[in-house]
């Protein structure tokens, strides 16, 4: 199976929701990956739509959470609604 591609599998569980990563399958081609993913991840109507993506096509941020990649957003509290204090009279904004 070493010459088969590893595909990551994403399932949309209900109409209106986004696709969510559920796991991976090996397959000779994309069509087979879809069929394998259906058998493996949606045996009990867990999904209405499936995506399969070759794992090597995914670019990921570095693994450790100490990584400074996400730092730039940590000090920007003014991006959150809770930063802005409103007078009690207009509290329901």
């Amino acid at each position: 199976m070493a010459d088969w591609t590893l595909y990551e599998v994403f399932v949309r569980s209900k109409h209106g929701l986004n696709h969510k990563h559920v796991g991976s399958v090996h397959a000779a081609d994309a069509q087979m990956a879809l069929e394998n993913a259906r058998e493996l991840y949606t045996r009990r109507s867990e999904g209405v739509s499936l995506w399969v993506v070759p794992a090597e096509q995914i670019t990921a941020s570095a693994g450790d959470e100490k990584e400074p990649f996400f730092d730039p957003t940590d000090d920007k509290v003014y991006r959150h609604a809770s930063f802005y204090k409103l007078p009690p009279e207009v509290d329901q904004m």
Partner: protein, 331 residues
């Protein structure tokens, strides 16, 4: 347990002061219940232990299809046949979730399967026993899957993210397995002939002790177990899980109207648990060493499944290559 006697390479536990900065950071994360993910730094021993445990677990799911497959063509009704087929397909699925989790640790699936076929790694002792009657399908679903659930529920909180997530999926599906097994036995006891009822008791007699052995020998003094606990791969001792399984199973046994092959089994008012007789561990160790009724046969069946399926995999690859070329020349 589906993974038994997993070696961690540890002789004793290191304390935080003895650890390297990386190890200490890792252990503090584990202690704080932060899940470890594939790309995070981890001690080599942790990685190896997980590969050993998850591969053994995966192999057990796959080999576990064989004793049940034995009864597919002889299921008493179409309904039972469909149910059994669905259960067996689930076991294949569980094996695949687990192999995927194992691969995130850098292990190669083909290589790990080769190791199983060469006899270098084990599958669970429980699947080396033969399935002699239809009642065995009930006993396996009820007792074996029941014991597996008790073991796998805490694994849903295992420190390694991919393993824990695979266990969540597995546990959801196992409860169907256990219920369908119990229902098989219940139906035989309620509607069956005397002969069929005797069959149920016989199946319980044969699977009772092996199910209790699934949890492995007492690990109260085992350095491997202490290390697995410190890494939060393991959450409870073998004896504790065995007792939990027994306490929930005995009332179900009584409701069936059957007995356990254990004259020492009785409720202990003081401890609030069932007492039980001594387990014959020699049988367990013999089975792990390969002296078992069906151990050799199971591996041979797995090997021939891989060998005889080679042409299918070759055809799939050839087809994929051809389709790719077609698409290229059409473009």
């Amino acid at each position: 347990m589906y993974a038994q006697q997993v070696d961690t390479g540890a002789k004793r536990l290191k304390n935080l002061e003895e650890m390297s900065p990386e190890e200490r950071h890792f252990q503090e994360k584990v202690d704080a219940e932060v899940r470890i993910e594939p790309k995070n730094w981890m001690p080599e021993g942790y990685r190896k232990t997980l590969i050993r445990q998850i591969s053994q677990h995966a192999h057990s799911e796959i080999v576990g299809m064989l004793p049940e497959g034995n009864w597919l063509t002889r299921a008493p009704t179409l309904k039972r046949k469909l149910q059994l087929m669905a259960k067996i397909q689930d076991e294949a699925g569980h094996g695949l979730y687990l192999y995927s989790a194992m691969e995130t640790l850098g292990a190669d699936r083909d290589e790990e399967i080769e190791k199983l076929h060469r006899g270098e790694v084990k599958f669970s002792s429980i699947f080396t026993y033969p399935t002699l009657t239809w009642a065995d399908m009930g006993a396996i679903g009820w007792l074996v899957d029941g014991a597996a659930i008790v073991n796998q529920v805490p694994l849903q909180r295992c420190s390694y993210g991919p393993y824990a997530r695979a266990m969540i999926r597995v546990c959801k599906e196992e409860s169907f397995h256990q219920r369908q097994g119990y229902e098989i036995l219940l139906t035989m006891m309620r509607e069956g002939t005397d002969e069929q009822k005797a069959m149920v008791q016989d199946a319980i007699n044969r699977f009772w002790w092996p199910s209790l052995m699934m949890f492995g020998p007492s690990d109260a003094n085992s350095p491997n177990s202490a290390q697995s606990m410190a890494w939060k791969i393991k959450r409870h001792g073998n004896d504790e899980l065995r007792q939990r399984f027994l306490d929930q199973t005995v009332p179900q046994l009584e409701f069936l109207g059957c007995t356990a092959p254990d004259p020492d089994l009785k409720w202990n008012e003081e401890t609030g648990h069932y007492d039980f007789g001594e387990i014959q561990w020699q049988e367990f160790f013999d089975v792990l060493k390969g002296h078992s009724p069906c151990g050799v046969e199971r591996i041979q069946q797995r090997k021939s499944a891989i060998d005889e399926g080679q042409w299918v995999r070759d055809a799939a690859v050839a087809y994929a290559r051809k389709q790719k070329q077609k698409a290229k020349s059409a473009a």
